[in-house]
Symmetry: C2
Subunit: 397 residues, 2 copies
């Protein structure tokens, strides 16, 4: 059995970012840039007014004679002489000859005469050409997941298209004679497939494109043919058939297709039997059949794998410090991930593990706010002790 | 001018959740439930084995004679007599007569005889029928944004469809003679539209459906007709034309369409001019034209508005405590939102405001990690003082 960190490192080491595609800016949010995005113009393209007011030259004091009117988008073409003023609005181009803007609240206007009692500083209320960015300047590096703010910046820089990594295609193959799809008739001993649907949602939340393969019965030929359907995908995720029992069928089935097995056991709970390998060029992640184990393993290994395929670094799930709301027993040699609720006691984050940590309870995982991390051989801890947690609400799970 | 909190309360008070629709489970991730989801079956539907092993009766000690084989999905139909064993796997139905499972690592099997040296407790390694949930039990309440875990739980509960609020349709209308779309020719004094694209991304991140209306020139008739195109939407968001200057055209234009103005100034920075009202049944949010102001206002008002329309509570953006990395000047009477970077100093979150807080710098907003909140008249603070921040990476902005 290998550690969680070693397993993640080995899974990620076999992955490369997928190729690029171009998408319209309107569909670029949350996509990962495949190339740096440089400004196609200088912003602002001219000195512009930061306020509604009047452009003047500081070469002469007021009062000023109003000689022009320049709303945003309609620059005044003349040259402002000392003693003259041009009416401007926020974003208006500051006309030649002017070097300051007097805000409208600070003037009185009578006929064509503009009077102010304020002292005028050169450059006041003017946004200088290029203050935000200059043509050619890289605004967004490659390998960044575009935020709404980035989308605005890229738009301002005049890009109608962006080059991003295509969404990684993640094939999901549930195996098991007992598995039926939601809404179908359930035979005796049958159970409704939940893993593949939860994993599909996790893939979407991580920016991937799930490809849900038909459920494969517990038969090596059927499993092998189902896996063939993953051709053209970037990663094949299986669930079930990865236990240590007689029903360890996935490895057997795919062995006939040339599976190179890297490892298949991790010192963790829930989820010990996790299989990793390659089917030719196709990386394979074999998750346990138990839904709680499958989802915790997906959080720890599948999510960073999708990130690497997407062009991101693929870090471990972020951890936060929290305070224990109830005591914990000493841990054994496996890293544990205790399902817990979070509460906030005057700014302090309290994590309380569910009394039952049975991995058969999907309802408890769904209502958990966090996983409390327990290192191998971690000692018993009293309530009030500090622990590391993974916040599930921040992990798209 | 009214406070940020009062403005948000008034915006949200005028909103109601949109109607429901049904979506396939495969598209249900991140949607908001419009009705509680109850289990359609009991899970597990029978007592099942938690491990690979052998089902026995504790009424008699071993050794046991192997009389059956029951992989998951293929229940053994007989009754286990004392002294008999049935081979099971994780998830297999425990046959009648058996009340314990011996895990396979604890037995030796010779021919048809199963021997164990361990003491067997009744119910060991058995997951009881209904341990996860019972038929009829509510698993997901109404008004919850479905996580990947929820999707798995709803699948396990045998729902192929779920009833969710439809995505709120948010019409976005950029106004201004100077505005051109990315990739179009830019006339003198022209500027590329960034607000509408950034807002569209923010709407998507909040679970809404953006409807990008054509840019409206600074003309009351044009603006009024453009706003007519928002019919059937749940909220109209305008940008620009909301300043205090001569170019306060949106209010004027929509006044002719029966706009009932609620308020139009907020004591905040960036973004003082924010307009709120109703056009008949259509709520209106008029954001400033300045991109930084527009996006900060969108975070504070539009995002919770979309949440309420989606069937969620619509809370203020979550705040976190952080430590100042550099001193701050005293604040004036307007709530301020300082663009800042975050760093982590041995577990302590350090927030450092950019030296320039000019709202003309979209690039700085895009590279900010957080907004530092400054209450009206907040005193000057030294580096090391505690402040409240809004983490932008957790706000879909």
């Amino acid at each position: 059995m290998i550690s969680v960190d070693e397993a993640r490192a080995r899974v990620l080491a076999g992955l490369r970012p997928v190729a690029a595609e171009i998408v319209p800016l309107a569909q670029a949010w949350s996509r990962v840039t495949a190339a740096p995005i440089a400004a196609r113009l200088t912003q602002p393209p001219h000195d512009v007014s930061a306020m509604d007011g009047y452009a003047v030259s500081t070469a002469a004091p007021g009062p000023y004679r109003l000689v022009g009117y320049a709303p945003a988008g309609h620059p005044w073409e003349g040259v402002v002489q000392p003693g003259q003023a041009v009416r401007l609005f926020t974003g208006s181009v500051v006309p030649d000859g002017a070097d300051a803007v007097i805000i409208q609240e600070d003037v009185t206007v009578g006929g064509e005469i503009v009077v102010t009692a304020e002292t005028i500083r050169s450059r006041q209320h003017i946004r200088a050409r290029g203050q935000d960015f200059a043509e050619g300047q890289v605004l967004v590096p490659a390998g960044r997941r575009l935020t709404a703010r980035d989308v605005g910046l890229v738009a301002a820089a005049n890009h109608p298209w962006v080059t991003v990594h295509r969404r990684p295609r993640i094939a999901i193959l549930a195996t098991g004679d007992e598995i039926v799809l939601p809404g179908e008739a359930i035979p005796p001993g049958g159970i409704v497939s939940s893993n593949s649907h939860a994993l599909s949602a996790l893939v979407r939340s991580a920016g991937g494109l799930p490809v849900l393969l038909p459920v494969a019965a517990d038969d090596t030929d059927v499993i092998a043919r189902a896996a063939d359907a993953a051709a053209g995908c970037d990663l094949l995720v299986t669930t079930g058939g990865a236990s240590v029992g007689d029903h360890d069928l996935v490895a057997k089935a795919l062995g006939g297709r040339g599976l190179e097995l890297d490892f298949w056991k991790i010192a963790m709970r829930p989820g010990k039997p996790l299989m990793h390998g390659h089917l030719g060029d196709l990386p394979l992640l074999g998750l346990p059949g138990n839904p709680v184990s499958a989802l915790v393993c997906a959080l720890l290994f599948l999510r960073p794998a999708i990130e690497v395929l997407s062009g991101l670094p693929g870090a471990a799930a972020a951890t936060t410090r929290a305070t224990l709301g109830s005591p914990l027993l000493a841990n054994d040699r496996r890293t544990d991930h205790l399902r817990a609720t979070l509460s906030d006691a005057s700014g302090e984050l309290i994590a309380t593990a569910f009394p039952s940590q049975d991995s058969g309870q999907m309802r408890l995982l769904a209502s958990a706010d966090a996983l409390i991390l327990r290192a191998p051989h971690a000692p018993a801890l009293p309530a009030g002790a500090a622990v590391d947690i993974i916040r599930l609400d921040q992990q798209g799970l």
